[in-house]
Amino acid sequence: MTDESPNDDRTESRDESDVRSDATDRRPDGGTAVESDGGTDVHSDGGTAVGTELTVPARKADYEDDSDHDFPGMGTIRRWFVTTNHKDVGILYIVTSLFFLVLGGVLAWLLRIQLWAPRTPTTTVLEPLAYNQAVSAHGLIMVFWFLSPFAFGFANYIVPLQIGAKDLAFPRLNALSYWLYLFSGILFGVSFFQGGTFAGGWTMYAPLNVPTFTPDVGASTAVLALTLFVASVTVSSVNFLTSMHKMRAEGLTLRRLPLFTWSILLTVWMMLFAFAALLAALIILSSDRLLGTTYFTLESPAGSMLWAHLFWFFGHPEVYIVFFPALGVMAEVFQTFTGRRIVGRKWFIAAMVLVALQSFVVWMHHMFLTTINLQIKTLFMITTIGISLPFDLMVFALIYTMLKGKIQFKTPFLFVFGALLLFIIGGITGVFLGAIVLDYEFRGTYWVVAHFHYVMVGGVTALVGGLYYWFPKITGRMYDEFLGKLHFAIYFVGFNLLYFPLFVAWETPRRVFDYAPALIPWHQLATIGAFVLGLSFTIMFYNLAKSAFSGEPVGDNPWEFATTAEWAVPSPPPLENFPGLPTYRDGSLAFRSERRAIEGGTATDGGSSEVRSDGGEQTDCLRDSSEVRSDGGVTASATATPTDHDHDDHHASHASIWPFVVGVGTFLLFVGLSGMQDAAFPEGMMGSVYVSLTVLGSVVTLGSLVAMALEPFTGPELVDGETWPFGDLEYGKVGMWIFLASDVVLFGGFIGAYVFTRVAFGWTAWEPIPSNPIPGLMNTYLLLTSSFTVVLALVAAEKKNKWGLVASLTTTFVLGVGFLVNKGIEWDHLFHEGLWLSSNIRASTFFLTTGLHAAHVIVGLIVTLYLIARAMRGAYLEDNSSVEYFGLYWHFVDIVWLFLFPLFYIL
């Protein structure tokens, strides 16, 4: 096979260096040749730094004392509110998501109890509307608040370890993602108590999703909760993408990433774009619900279809977003417990990449019975078949991996093996839906329900396997194997008892609790299965809770054939993960010491920033030869950014309370906003409560964001590793560009909604709302000029011209304000002409789209104010990256206007 030569290399290096997990002989540090390349350079401070090779797996003694006195211990409550460490955040994600699993599960039980027998309106257990709420909330909670966050718990914990990073690129943003996630979930919980939560199904079809048909405040809250969740996902996507592209250990090129990390990488890419489209849909929906725009209402020419397009454009990638991490866990666990490398690994990766790309062009197969034309049906049938095929390859790859294996049926493998089996059934039944003629009849029936539960809960099965797999790593203790196997047995029986009968009873319409009496036995079996499946989790919770405290302590690697880097460090891994700088330069994992050997033994607290700035003089020892190698220190110096020079403290920070406070602020803000309808708050006491919460929430959010910006916080340093495809760009710039890419899709969704609605309306019959394009042209001038002054600001900063910088930024601010004032006057005129948000669909699209743009301008102006204040005190002359990143954002806002202006004013 193609992999032969790397195999040989590996064998060789293993034989020579003996890095096996069971190797007991540890290398004496001094015994190996320590080569100094003597490359002292400008950075030289006299001392020669010597990098030494440490053992793999790592020993506790190799770690520096990384106890940070400012950072509270694991046992304290405070720790969990301030932590920004990826492992802590991972644990928080896992625990929180399991809570939502229970919540969603209880809702599912309610549904299954209702379905125990066909119900007439008088014999229901849940009232019809309560049933609809339960159905909707079950779907939303399981898909959004359980499945993805559960997977992202592992991603948070494991991915940095697997790529050899000490943390994610933006640790505070990571904590922020978590708090936004938690508070969005709580917000969703609040919605139950505001007259009832959203009752229109997790797909939220229009126009059932507008207040005319779902008038409860709780329904608005649910939509806002989802919006907040999407904000969390966006922050998280930017963070993960920056980290995974920029922070990989030397030698860990993309092709060589472990499969779990690969699956997460692709998941996050899909998330970045898919959730941006959902964000567009949700902002529009929120606006319809709160401000009274008419995108999805009956009056809109194609509101129902618009929602379906926007939702499924997100919704189909979402299927893979929730499933891919499970696939990654499967691949990882299969490899570890069969003792075989994944068959056709690179084809497995290629298949995943293909699926990730194609996932954006299959969405209309959810809409085969709508008014879409035959041509597009055919096209989407073809893409749908196309996307099913790579999965065949992945399934076969996993199956063939077992051949010649030494398969150990431990709990993680049982779950993952079971997951594969369930996925095969889910996949085959999915092919039925790919045939449009069959899809026509399966639409809206339990065939679909059974199919996607086999796929999605099949994915959950794999993730549960992942939980057992990484449990010893996370807690340092082994779970109880017997209870684990018992859990699997009951789980697997319960699963099939629950979902298989649904295939048999497929003629039941979805979300209906009155069905044909002939189907009663099958539904009763399913209900029994639901309880078996749900209760099996009590075994898991008991097992894991008990084992976390009293389980058998484990070493670095409890599994015989684990390969990835998380198993080469102690369980649980110390705060900064690795005893040294992980590198794969020689074909397998090695840790290079970052400690500087200084005579007298007084170790300076060589955080990795030391290593970076001193990189040029680093020497290292080679594992098994005396060959002299430069470790690329020159590159390291070259890529060093001035960011860190602001801080004297070379320790990376791990604590910040502000992400939590931002979470609280947005939560209050969104609860407050939920009370709004038709752009006004209700009268009376509840109205004042909502208004005060909105004001309070805004103040807290804004204040904590500023506090977070001002707080001194040292993130992980740029280290010398693999950075494809972003080369030597700083983290901040990469992050900003990735964010802007998602913003492109957000505005794309808005413009797409406008174009679609206008096409449905009749393109040329549609008159632009402003009768006069001149105010728009004035605004184009203002924005173009403000873009120019931002460029001048950066030029001034580069020339270290403080007052030039302040003046340019101030001009930008004034121009931005001018833009808003001009827009305000224009809107005021329109308002007095009787045109406002809800006047008609043309007005709705005009005000909302340009309003979203204006919101971007306002955010930009707030940042400008912040920059001006800091610039007046002399900031940004040494390090102007903040000004530069702001500029990227501001120019983007400018570019968006360049398209909005013609589309909404002159065409």
Binding site: V744, F747, V790
Partner: protein
């Protein structure tokens, strides 16, 4: 990169083309001709801003592709959705 004169030229070009864009509207051309011209002008301005003000020209090409992917996704949604109801 630090060249104020150069940026000023770009700025003037942007300013002028924004003006031309509106003049096209008033020129009384056939609707779809004017539509095409106006969108081309918008795209040209956008490319100028991205290439020079956002200095994409000097960044790794991957950044351009990244934005391009986002744009492609948005356009796929817009065109396929609109086409589906024609």
């Amino acid at each position: 990169m630090v060249n104020t004169k150069f940026y000023t030229i770009i700025y003037v070009v942007l300013f002028v083309s924004a003006t031309i864009q509106v003049l096209v509207e008033f020129a009384g051309l056939e609707y779809w001709t004017a539509f095409g011209l106006i969108m081309v002008l918008s795209a040209a301005k956008a490319i100028l801003v991205a290439a020079y003000f956002q200095h994409l020209r000097w960044e790794p090409r991957s950044v351009t592709y990244l934005i391009g992917i986002g744009l492609a996704a948005a356009l796929a949604l817009t065109f396929a959705a609109s086409y589906s109801i024609l």
